[in-house]
């Protein structure tokens, strides 16, 4: 019952030379020598102008008037922009945003006006001189209040908004999208279940905190070509959205060029289009001059995408033998003021909110709710990090209630190849059981540990995770490959090197097929004029999707190489193979033709003429088995996801029972990479993702005051981990159950490594203290107060 994949990929995984091996990253020297150029490092000469943005101080208000006269008269100011200059909507999956606010502001920080000046200082100074009069309205800050009867509408015109066909906005409500799954009969299953547990879990908003802030430089030149240098995960999607949003100004796609050098971390925060549209639009007002717009750290927090908060109402039914029979998961997403990207997070979560379990009866409701908080959007894990907290907490509680070991319980119910998914398609090959067993073994599951320190106790926890790439069904990747005179290779793709090692992995895939060593392959960062299409570097899909495109280009190049050998020497193509940068022949052991001798110049025939010529190739990949169209009331009938990556996380932690302080002594994480093209880089994703996930549960959260203003938009008060705030020991475990349509069997792992981190801490804290914390984060303070509360209750009972 598994998916049939209607195309051919390199299936042979025997005797791999490069794939599956560690390879030195091809961007190492650049980055460690200080040479690596990020957008803000590019020089634009003395003509560079600087932009600063005027932002709303109110979460919800009507704009009564904007007086820009003082700013226009200020020193150094070249131009002031407001919503009147760009009355255009845009959006990734739903067009609900404006470039600058029109009539209303809907979150604190929303852009109201912009100043372009000759210096950054002049721009910031002049921005403070713009006077905006507001009529302040009552903001909606809580998603469940926003869906209550009679709630004010954040977007009264929702019914007019253009959106993708798999969204279901509810007119005259604040529900921008409602993903429903109905499978089996949950009501009956709960009635028949031996045990049913129902509870609510709270997950706040989070910030990506890439260390590089968003920055963009845009220039409309005298030939009306708009070039945008941008710190982005999504050069082609940005070009598309710029071209569409600015189409009224006469732009077509060919007039817009997006160039993306190295990016200083993304984590979803630099996907899609956020502040970049401001720079692109403002540049059209000052033809010929490049305009730089760089977000401050504060803006980075409150005016880019944020990970959405969610309130999860969860009900699960189980039989006494541990068989899961029903899941009802209602997710109220605080999606913020604009949901053009965030609604798809909601959609993805709704499709998969059972977690990695075999569940016959399912009712999922995932509600994308407008609030007057900053726009929600993609963040590593894309909805799954959020709902796994409650789900995997709940699974531990159910196992305990029926007297079953939580690891045995998970093993029994874990989804495996061929099991039916919530929307009716079937699960891909998966190493979940192996991941559970190896993770449990790594933390000595079942072996009770006690602390020598009388002030501390030790706890263990385990949680599973799964995630599928959340993409349009036809999201695609492409690559160009060309040989150089010396047999070295240049590859262009449009996936982004965000730090994950994408460029190196693409080089390894091409190297494996063409036998050219990785250090002779250059893979370029994108320029939409030159590099072929890539949808976006998100969804943990580029190793798989872009990897397939590179693999196909390499196979095509190899075919062309064999063709010219065949033409000149007469060997049949299927007798030829590549080895050590040369063409060899199975039927003539003496034959060896080094690539460098002919991949540009061709081969001279006996008559003195030439054959062949520059070897160039292309490859593209688009999944052809996916389909996002399903019944809106049941979610049945489509095939929205390409495949799931699964795994397990386990921790051993120690807690000071007076102070609540938690030390993660050991953390193990097993992820099924299908095939690790570069095991070192997979380990890097495990370590980095795990620490990022642990931070969401131990240290971080976004706080908003009663007026919707973010209270901690700095690293002083939004605490991302330092070198001290990591587990004492991290055990990365790579499981490899090949993905049938993956390049050499690979599937993505980038996001997955942070998904299990939050619930695993909740479970281990419970294991240590007997205290179940149902809201994130589980800070030292929260644990200390819970311990105090428990001791009061216990004393009271005595």
């Amino acid at each position: 019952m598994t998916t049939e994949y209607p195309f051919e990929v390199e299936k042979s995984t025997d005797d791999l030379k490069t794939v599956g091996k560690p390879a030195v990253r091809i961007d190492g020297l650049d980055k460690i020598s200080g040479a690596a150029q990020f957008v803000d490092d590019i020089d634009f000469g003395p003509g560079l102008l600087h932009a600063a943005i005027v932002e709303s101080p109110h979460a919800y208000a009507k704009i009564v008037s904007i007086d820009t006269s003082k700013a226009e008269a200020a020193a150094g100011v070249v131009r002031v922009a407001t919503g009147a200059d760009f009355p255009y909507k845009f959006g990734m999956y739903m067009e609900d945003r404006y470039i600058f606010a029109q009539n209303h502001v809907r979150f604190v920080g929303e852009q109201v006006a912009g100043v372009i000046a000759r210096s950054h200082r002049d721009a910031v100074h002049a921005a403070k001189l713009i006077e905006v009069e507001y009529e302040v309205l009552e903001p909606l800050l809580d998603p469940r209040s926003a869906v209550a009867d009679g709630a004010e509408l954040v977007h009264p015109d929702l019914d007019e908004y253009v959106h993708v066909p798999w969204f279901f906005p509810q007119d005259d409500t604040n529900i921008a999208h409602w993903r429903k799954i109905r499978k089996g009969d949950t009501e009956k299953a709960f009635a028949e279940a031996d045990y049913v547990l129902e509870d609510t879990y709270h997950v706040p908003r989070y910030a990506h905190c890439a260390i590089e802030p968003h920055v963009t430089v845009s220039r409309l030149d005298q030939s009306d070509r708009l070039t945008v240098w941008t710190a982005s995960q999504s050069p082609h999607t940005q070009r598309h959205l710029f071209a569409e949003a600015l189409a009224p100004l006469g732009f077509t796609h060919k007039d817009v060029r997006v160039i993306t050098p190295y990016v200083g971390g993304g984590f979803g925060g630099k996907a899609g289009v956020s502040m970049e549209i401001l720079g692109a639009a403002m540049a059209t007002l000052v033809k010929g001059r490049p305009v730089k717009l760089r977000w401050t750290r504060e803006q980075e927090f409150y005016n880019t995408y944020q990970r959405q908060g969610v309130v999860a109402e969860l009900k699960v039914g189980v039989m006494n033998d541990g068989t899961l029979t029903a899941v009802e998961h209602k997710l109220y997403w605080d999606a913020g003021a604009y949901v053009e990207y965030g609604a798809n997070v909601v959609n993805a979560a709704g499709l998969s909110a059972t977690g990695p379990y075999r569940v016959p009866n399912i009712t999922n409701d995932s509600l994308c709710i407008y609030t007057n908080l900053p726009p929600g959007g993609p963040y590593r894990g894309f909805g799954y990090s959020e709902f796994h907290f409650g789900l995997e907490s709940h699974m531990d509680r159910i196992a305990e209630a029926i007297g079953m070991d939580p690891v045995d319980f998970r093993r029994k119910n874990a989804i495996v190849e061929g099991d039916e998914l919530a929307y009716g398609a079937h699960m891909n090959p998966s190493g979940m059981i192996e991941a559970i067993d190896k993770t449990a073994a790594a933390i000595d599951w079942g072996v009770e540990e006690t602390s020598d320190n009388p002030n501390t106790v030790i706890g263990k926890g385990l949680a599973l995770f799964w995630k599928a790439p959340a993409m349009p069904p036809n999201a695609s990747s492409a690559s160009f490959l060309k040989f150089n005179e010396d047999g070295s290779i240049n590859i262009t793709v449009s996936g982004m090197e965000l730090g994950q090692g994408y460029l190196t992995v693409m080089a390894q895939i091409a190297s494996e097929i063409l036998t050219v060593p990785v250090n002779k392959i250059r893979v370029e960062t994108p320029d939409t004029d030159r590099n072929p299409y890539e949808w976006q570097t998100v969804a943990s899909h580029v190793t798989w999707s872009s990897g397939l495109a590179v693999e196909k280009a390499a196979i095509e190049a190899r075919g062309k190489i064999f063709d010219v050998i065949h033409e000149v020497y007469g060997f049949e193509d299927d007798s030829l193979y590549l080895e050590d940068e040369a063409v060899k022949c199975r039927t003539d052991a003496s034959f060896s033709k080094p690539l460098r001798e002919f991949v540009i110049d061709g081969i001279q025939t006996e008559e003195g003429t030439w054959r062949g010529g520059p070897i160039i190739a292309s490859g593209k990949f688009m999944p052809e088995f996916t389909n996002a169209i399903s019944d809106p009331e049941t979610g049945q009938g489509g095939h929205p996801n390409v495949h799931y990556t699964v795994g397990a996380t386990g921790v051993v932690l120690e807690i000071d029972t007076d102070t609540g302080r938690i030390w993660v002594r050991k953390a193990a994480l097993a992820v099924d990479a299908g095939r690790a093209i570069n095991p070192d880089l997979v380990n890097g994703q495990i370590t980095g993702g795990l620490v990022q996930g642990l931070a969401t549960v131990l240290y971080e959260d976004m706080r908003f005051d009663e007026n919707g203003k973010m209270m901690n938009p700095t690293f002083t008060d939004y605490k991302i981990p330092t070198a001290f705030d990591i587990p004492d020991e991290i055990i990365p475990i790579i499981v490899e159950v090949p993905q049938p349509d993956g390049p050499f069997g690979a599937r993505g792992v980038g996001e997955h490594t942070m998904i299990g981190a939050a619930p695993v801490i909740a479970n281990a804290v419970y294991n240590a203290l007997g205290v179940r914390i149902k809201s994130m984060p589980i800070t030292q303070e929260k644990v200390a107060m819970a311990i105090l509360e428990k001791s009061k209750t216990t004393e009271g009972a005595n």
Partner: protein
């Protein structure tokens, strides 16, 4: 964000010159030493001086010396200087323990101890420690030198006894045999502002000095708890008695960094653990300086 306004900058070569400049610009000048607070605050528009007076060229302000039992800390002495000073590590290791908790190396290389108590935020790490050391703050102004006891230094939230035309020249601390501890509550292991802090000194004759940070508008000494402990040898009951007094001594608020209730609870825990550690250290035992107690 860029500092969005202009200001003047002067770098006097003598103390007299510096005081002259300050006197001529009362109310519109700010002293620049390490600058780690000043530059950040100017960027935030939290302060907007017309003139910044960089005192780093003034000779003599870098001194970190012992004269008899008296430790002299010049106003340009950085937290790194404190951590690396043999004198401090030998005679006043508590100062180094405190300095080690301040921000990060790149900040400590610039930020000064005196600047920390001039900024005078409630969570300033130097506050509780200088309080228990009965530090004397030495000032120089147009009318000459004067000194202020540290207990009179912190006047209110981010307010000190320093006049606008004065400069702190140095601090002095009379040191005797003591055991000390600085317990700092942070949100995690890495750099953080104190959510609450406790500074304790234990002297041989069962004399204790106790101060708290980040649990009142200024760092505070606790005479009542000190009186309760005075002359008695420390045991579990006495510690419990002292701990039970904490909530009456401090007045924490709930803010972004912690709730009042958590600050109360943790200050109790920190005082209890700190008293034990300080007493043990006095006896040459106990946890190494730098060991985190919470």
């Amino acid at each position: 964000m860029v500092i969005a306004r202009n200001f003047e900058y002067q770098r006097p070569d003598t103390l007299e010159e510096a005081i002259g400049i300050l006197s001529d610009h009362t109310g519109s000048a700010q002293i620049l030493a390490g600058g780690t607070d000043l530059v950040a605050w100017m960027r935030d528009d939290a302060i907007a001086p017309d003139l910044v007076v960089d005192i780093k060229n003034v000779p003599g302000l870098n001194d970190l010396t012992m004269d008899g039992d008296t430790l002299h800390i010049g106003s340009l002495v950085t937290f790194t200087d404190i951590i690396e000073s043999e004198i401090v590590n030998e005679h006043a290791p508590l100062l180094a323990e405190m300095a080690d908790t301040v921000a990060s190396g790149g900040i400590r290389n610039r930020a000064t101890v005196v600047g920390n108590i001039c900024s005078a935020v409630p969570s300033c790490d130097a506050g509780p420690v200088l309080l228990v050391y009965d530090t004397v703050v030495h000032l120089i102004g147009p009318d000459g030198a004067r000194s202020v006891d540290i207990k009179d230094w912190f006047v209110g939230l981010r307010e000190t006894a320093l006049s606008e035309d004065e400069i702190v020249s140095h601090l002095t601390i009379d040191l005797g045999s003591h055991g000390g501890v600085y317990v700092k509550l942070m949100r995690y292991g890495g750099e953080d502002l104190a959510q609450a802090s406790v500074g304790i000194l234990a002297y041989p004759d069962n004399e204790y000095r106790i101060a708290f940070g980040a649990v009142a508008p200024t760092p505070i000494r606790s005479a009542r708890i000190e009186d309760t402990l005075r002359g008695k040898s420390l045991d579990g009951d006495l510690i419990a008695e002292a701990v039970a007094m904490v909530r009456d001594e401090i007045s924490p608020i709930t803010d972004m960094r912690a709730s009042a209730e958590y600050r109360n609870h943790m200050t109790e825990v920190m005082l209890g653990r700190g008293l034990v550690a300080a007493t043990e250290r006095l006896a040459g035992k106990g946890p190494d300086y730098g060991t985190r107690l919470v």
